[in-house]
Amino acid sequence: MIPSCFEYHKATSIADAIAKLQDNEDAKLLAGGHSLLPMMKLRFSEAPYLVDINGIEGLKGISIDGDTITIGAMTTESELIRSDILQQYCPLLVEAAKLVADPQVRNKGTIGGDVAHGDPGNDHPAVMLALDAQLVIHGPDGERMIPANGFFLGTYWTALEEYEILVAIKVPALTSGTGHGYHKLKRKTGDYAVAGSAVVVEMNGDVVRDIRIGLTNVAPMAIRAEAAEDLIRGKRVDDVLLKAVEKAIVAACDPAVDLRGDEEYKSHMAAIMARRSIIQAIENAKE
């Protein structure tokens, strides 16, 4: 299996990459290539011109400034897992990255590609929603920053405009009283989620002051379970409330039927994953 013919060019800077996208019709960016190349090999996707953004300075790496962590779009899953900053200040991203694919794929796949691809089966989009991440985007008109909330518009469809590049992701550092959780049900190691859920809570003693619940692979794109969040906000979480939350999550799901299961099963599993992540997040917040 090989892709159909294309031209390949390495971009030397972000500006150069944008120019190459503008100058070549239907050109595509090549990041880790672990979604794009499989799709091109299967001829689900064709690109006459690939712009390789590996090796552009400034697109890689993780830094922290005050309460904000900045992650370069070309940072690989393996680099997320190894990062001391993330282990300490955003363990949710480390946990989620460990559940992505397998070691070899994680060495190539990037967080930027995972988010920009718009695949509802990818794990980072729901994590971005739960973290309330901000996405730094460069295009012909300069830089803009938009919230992850609202970025995922449909399957393989995001708020990225033509010729735009996701350059970095900004997430808040974990503060005291904040807790994280990610659970993903998969058939085997390395598989995409049957259903997954990322949760971030802000606690005020025993009461949930704020919560964000992101869901993986149970709708055309990653979604927030807002009705479920509304049920929890301002409350103490107990079993009765969690049952109501599960119902609200099932109602929010609209999964595609495939070999991983039917609609009812996937929606139910999303509710279970969310329940586990909520409990984990609250436990973490207390520590």
């Binding site: 159909s4 031209e7 390949y8 672990h34 070691p103 794929v105 190691t189």
Partner: protein, 158 residues
């Protein structure tokens, strides 16, 4: 489509190839350079039989364009044994019966080679996690886990 000249290091030697941009590294290795150690299994980035080591990381060579490896240091299973004999990891696979048909073995060896540098003293759970990108249809994995554990012990004593 015009071919591009690409140079990289393969098992310590510089190689120059002329490839179409769409050529995958596994095909360059097998068909152009006659290094047939790395196998082709699933061709969809799942099975790991095509695993090689690139600049110190395990990579599935069926999911990498050869043009992307320009200037890289590539190591394949052919680079493991020396004139003195098998590599410690290869010997451990023999001793522990870590293979049956052997089809997955080149990928298993190359992954184990890198994994044991990332984690020289792993427990069994870590071995399973570290080797999880490689599938085997024969062994049931237990002897592969044993082989990696034995290799770790022997490498530390070496």
């Amino acid at each position: 489509m015009a071919k591009q000249a690409v140079s990289f290091t393969l098992n310590g030697k510089t190689v120059d190839v002329l490839v179409e941009p769409r050529e995958l590294l596994i095909h360059t290795l097998r068909e152009n350079l006659n290094q047939t150690g790395a196998h082709i299994g699933c061709e969809t980035s799942h099975c790991g039989v095509c695993t090689v080591d690139i600049d110190g990381e395990s990579v599935k060579s069926c999911t990498l364009l050869t043009v992307q490896t320009a200037g890289s240091d590539v190591k394949s299973v052919e680079g493991m044994a020396t004139a003195d004999g098998l590599h410690v990891i290869q010997q451990a696979f023999v001793d522990e019966h870590g293979l049956q048909c052997g089809f997955c073995t080149p990928g298993m060896l190359m992954r184990a080679y890198r994994f044991l540098q990332e984690n020289p003293d792993p427990n069994d759970e870590e071995i399973r996690w570290g080797m999880s990108g490689n599938l085997c249809r024969c062994t049931g994995y237990q002897n592969i886990i044993n082989a990696v554990r034995t290799a770790a012990k022997n490498l530390q004593q070496a």
